[in-house]
Every structure is written in C-alpha cells, then in structure tokens.
C-alpha cells in the first residue's frame, strides 16, 4: 500500500470526524434561544432537585463558556469531544453521555455488523448467480423479488416482521435484547435467548439489504461476463464453478466493496431505526429515549457516535481495498 493513498484516506477520516464535531458545535448556536437556559428550564420543570445539579450547570456553563470568544469555545469543544467528554445526560443522569453510549454500542455493533455481513455475502452470491447464465431458472427469476425487497426501507420491513412474527404468530419476542438483561450469562440458554431476541431485527436488516447487494452484484457480474479472460478460461476447459468463483465473481466483487463503503452510512441510519422498532438496547434505543426527554447532549452524542462508527468502518474498508485490487491506489 502506498503512503499517499493511506494518508489520503486517513485525511478523509479526520475530515469526516471534524465535520461531525463542527456541525454539532454550530447548529445549536444557530438555533434561536440560549442552550443553557433551555437545559436549566428543563431541569426545573422536572421538579425534582437532582443531586449535583450545580455540577451539571457548572458543566454546561463551562462547556458553552458564553463569555469566551467563539474560536476558543470551538477549540474547547473539539478538545473535549476528541477526549470522549460529551457532557452529562439528562435522561440517564448521573451517567455521562459517553458512558450511556458505550453501554449501548456493543449491541449496535454486533447487530449491525453481523446483519450487514450476512446481507452482503448472501446478496453478492445471489446477485452473481442471477447474472450467471448457467444458473437454474428459479434463481434467475429471483431478480424482480429482490428488486421489490430492496425498495422497502429497513424500518417498514421491521414493522411488518414485528407484526407477523411477534404480535400475530408469537414465534419471536416483541423486543428487547434478552428476557432479563441483568441475568445474562455465558450459558447455552442465555445465548439462545439473545439470538432469539436479535433474530427479527437482524432479519429486517438482512432482507432489506439483500436486494441492494444482489442488484449491485448482478450489474457488476454482467460487466465481467463480457470479458475476454472468461472466454479464455472456458476455452481452457476450466470447471464451471472455478470460473464462477475465481474468475467472474472475484473480479465483480471489487465494485461491491466500494459500494459497501459508500452505503454503510445509510445502512447504519436504517439499522438505528430498526433498533427503535424492536426496543433493541443499542444506540437507536438510547436515541429514542434522548429524543423523548429532549436530552440534547445525548442526541449530539448519538450523532457523533454514529458518524464515528461508520467513519472507522469505512476507513478500515478503504485501507483493505488495495489488498483486493492494487489498481485502486492510483
């Protein structure tokens, strides 16, 4: 891997993170009203004298440091955010924003990464098979079905699955991540329980993503099938499955990996909503609570975490990309 390629990608990553921090900093300041006043008002309207309220107020005052020059405020905000100091949460008080998020992150990562990996792999193989002239007719007829599936957003699919399999037939639990989260152990029963809870959310993400990846792969595969090296491979008498995997699919995978990097942001947005639909205790659920209690720092924290997670994944993908296709570095 050349240094300039890696540096460019890392530069891009830094730019994305800074953009996210900057938006978090600027947008509330452009909105009418004083953020400190709004927060104070909210704390008072809750009526309860929260322990350490003075601490929070001091924290907000320092954070917004309203008498300081704007550039100094910005610098401090960037510094704090880069140190994962995201302020106090109102709805999860006395937890801080970052610790509420760190608790939720493993659930989101496990669900999002597993489901996306399954959708991507399965979708790519299916798409390749649809384009492959020697596939059975049944497989080739799947294209329209996948097209319709890829058009339906994650969230709507989640609602439909939730109704059919949890409310109506009661095959799966209505939501949550486990029957009792405090009693989670590494036992067999516990594992089954967690999988049963994750099944429907994961299925929504897989089904909604499957069509997208299959259609992309089908397009890439059709392009590859016209190439001379495939004709040569056939003329050499290579076995069909070898041509399929090692010659056709391998080359058609390259654009798929690029579009994975591009689509990840949308995928993450979609899966956050799936979590909301299933009350899954990940970032999406934290977000829903934050919105319901107008917990502004927590909302900002969720936005930042979402951007950061996707940016890290995209960076890893892009750094791995030259290993698959050396031409990309140019």
């Amino acid at each position: 891997m050349s240094w300039s390629y890696a540096l460019r990608r890392i530069g891009m990553f830094v730019a994305v993170v800074f953009l996210a921090i900057t938006i978090n900093f600027i947008v509330p300041r452009m909105a009418p009203g004083d953020p400190t006043a709004a927060v104070l008002e909210q704390l008072l309207s809750r009526g309860q004298q929260v322990e350490g309220a003075a601490d929070i107020v001091a924290n907000y005052r320092a954070r917004f440091g309203l008498d300081d020059p704007i550039l100094l405020q910005y610098g401090r905000y960037v510094w704090n955010t880069l140190h994962f100091d995201l302020g106090y949460s109102i709805s999860y008080f006395p937890q801080k924003v970052e610790s509420a998020l760190l608790q939720a992150l493993p659930w989101t990562l496990a669900l999002l990464l597993t489901a996306t990996a399954i959708a991507f792999t399965l979708g790519s193989i299916l798409g390749a098979l649809i384009a492959w002239p020697r596939s059975p007719r049944m497989v080739r007829n799947l294209a329209p079905v996948l097209m319709v599936l890829s058009a339906i957003p994650y969230y709507l699919l989640a609602l439909i699955l939730l109704y059919v399999f949890a409310v109506w037939t009661k095959f799966f639990p209505l939501g949550g991540a486990a029957s009792s989260q405090s009693a989670l152990t590494f036992s067999f029963a516990s594992t089954i329980d967690v999988i049963r809870h994750a099944f429907l959310p994961a299925l929504s993400i897989v089904l909604a993503g499957l069509g997208f990846w299959a259609l992309g792969m089908r397009g890439a595969m059709i392009n590859v099938l016209g190439e001379d090296y495939l004709t040569l491979a056939e003329a050499k008498g290579l076995r069909p499955h070898r041509i399929f995997f090692a010659y056709a699919m391998r080359n058609a995978m390259l654009p798929q990996v690029t579009s994975l990097a591009i689509a990840l942001g949308t995928v993450a947005s979609g899966s956050v909503l799936v979590e909301v639909a299933f009350n899954y205790p990940g970032i999406g659920y934290v977000l829903y609570n934050a919105l319901r209690s107008s917990d502004y720092f927590l909302i900002q924290g969720v936005a930042f975490f979402l951007v950061l997670t996707v940016a890290v994944a995209v960076l890893l993908l892009e750094l791995a990309y030259p290993l698959i296709d050396p031409r990309i570095e140019r």
Partner: protein, 288 residues
C-alpha cells in the same frame, strides 16, 4: 431546443416498452391523486383529533377504523399522503437543482473546483444522513412540512452531484462541446445550452431517487418524533400509532394503512428510477 425534444421523444417511445415504467407511473398516479380524489369522498374534517369515537375497528361508517386520538384513519390517509409527497418532491427538487449545478461546475471546470466539490460530496456521502438530520431537526424542531423538506434537502444533493459530474466528464470531451469552446462560447453558455440539455434525462432519474431518499429521511425523523406534530403525515401517523402501542393493542388498522402506502410509494419510486436509469444509460437496457 432540438436537443431537449429528442430525449423527451425517446422517453415517450420507451414508456411503451418498459413494464417497470408503466407499473410505476400507474402506482404514482394512484398515490398522487389519492389526496384530491379521496377528499371528494371522505370528510377530511375527520382527520382532526377528537372528531370521532376513539379506537373503533373498521366498519361501514369508518372504513379504516379510528385511532386513539379520535381521528378517522381513512381521512388521515387522505390528508396525510399528499403532505408526505409534498415534502419528498420539494426536498428532492431543491436537492437535485443544487446537485446538478455542482455536478456541472465540477465536471466542466475540473481542476481545483472539481477536487474540492468531489471531496466534499464523497465526505458527505459516508456520513450517516440520520446523524446530521437529527442534530439539525432536534435544534430547529421543524414545525411545518416545508421546513422539514428544506432540512432534508441539505442532504439530498450528493448523489445527483456525483451522477451529473460523471456524465459531464464524458460529455466534455465530445466534439460538439470542443466546437462550442473553439467558437468562443462563454463557459456559462456552454454549460447552460450544450451540457444541461444532455444531462436532463439523468437529472430526472436522480430526481426520482432524491425524492425517494427524502421521503425515507422524512419518515425516519417522523417516527423518531421529530416531525411536524400538527400535520398527520404518513410517518407521523406511524409515530402516534407506536406511541399509543397500537401493535400490542392489535389495532392493525391504525399502523397498517400508512405502512402500506409508504411501501407502495417506495416500490413505485424505485421502479421508476430503475426504468429511467435504463433510458439515461441505454447500455443497461440491452443487457437485462
């Protein structure tokens, strides 16, 4: 003028040969006329809260039943569907106009302008749209459908900009553009008169994609409770239904209709953008 008419003629000729396009046009015609036709038959006053008896299952009097807020669900759909469409079309339109402009500038001028625009576009594409929309919507607290559309339009220009740029890059090298350059046409006129007409089919295809994306983003904000609280859009109806536990209470007639209409809408828009892609890129047509 001729260059504008030609793709339009090709489009018309193509409609007959594409089942995807026929299906999508029919579906969209149905959905777009649902509001105006529906309001001729349904009393839209019943979409107001506390206008009917609450929690009634479908009956002859209320074809789709009533919700917990005392609204007739059919009336809510008749009022809400056009609002959702309005938001999507408005946001898509703003996004596509901005995207086409950036794509033209970036593709035609190349150099530093292109590098900056492309870098910003690519960066914005990798950011989860929800993250930015959340921060903006949570501090602005959009109250109207139009306001929502403007917020969503902030994130609807990247895909159009990318597609148009790619197209302009290849158009730029064609002899007729070179000719226009040599004959001393200003850059502005080359972009407006020579390039713009040729990217219109593609721009229209990405407009459909942008509308679909905008409705998706709008729905996301709405089901999270960041939508217009007083307008019964499709997304807001789902939000209220979930908030009042319509699922657990078996009130399928409350959450079902908006979900169904949205699903049909997304399928129609997807089919249309797939069909238009085939018009804009004839190479795709021969293969499939």
């Amino acid at each position: 003028m001729h260059s504008i008419l030609r793709p339009a003629g090709a489009l018309l000729a193509f409609v007959g040969g594409s089942p995807k396009l026929i299906v999508s046009v029919l579906l969209l015609a149905l959905l777009f006329s649902f509001g105006s036709v529906g309001s001729a038959f349904v009393d839209t006053e019943l979409a107001q809260p506390i206008s009917v008896k609450t929690n009634q299952p479908p009956s002859m009097q209320h074809l789709l039943g009533t919700d917990s807020g005392g609204r007739d669900v059919l009336a809510v759909m008749v009022v809400g569907t056009p609002q959702t469409l309005r938001m999507g079309v408005l946001a898509g339109l703003i996004g596509v106009v901005f995207g086409v402009f950036l794509g033209l500038v970036s593709g035609f001028f190349g150099g530093p302008a292109d590098r900056i625009i492309s870098a910003v576009t690519d960066t914005m594409l990798t950011i989860p749209p929800l993250a930015i929309l959340l921060v903006v919507a949570a501090s602005v607290r959009a109250v109207s459908v139009d306001m929502m559309a403007v917020i969503i339009a902030l994130l609807s220009w990247m895909n159009p900009a990318r597609t148009i740029r790619a197209q302009v890059l290849s158009l730029r090298e064609l002899p007729y553009v070179q000719m226009a350059r040599v004959s001393g046409l200003s850059n502005f006129r080359i972009m407006l008169q020579e390039l713009l007409p040729n990217v219109i089919p593609l721009a229209f295809a990405s407009f459909v994609g942008a509308v679909s994306g905008a409705i998706l983003s709008g729905m996301a904000l709405e089901v999270l409770g960041l939508g217009p609280q007083n307008t019964p859009t499709l997304g807001m109806t789902i939000y209220w239904a979930l908030l009042y536990a319509a699922f657990a209470r078996g009130m399928w007639w409350w959450w079902g209709p908006p979900v169904l209409i949205l699903v049909l809408l997304f399928i129609a828009l997807f089919l249309m953008s797939a069909a238009l892609d085939e018009v804009a890129n004839p190479r795709l047509r021969q293969r499939s």
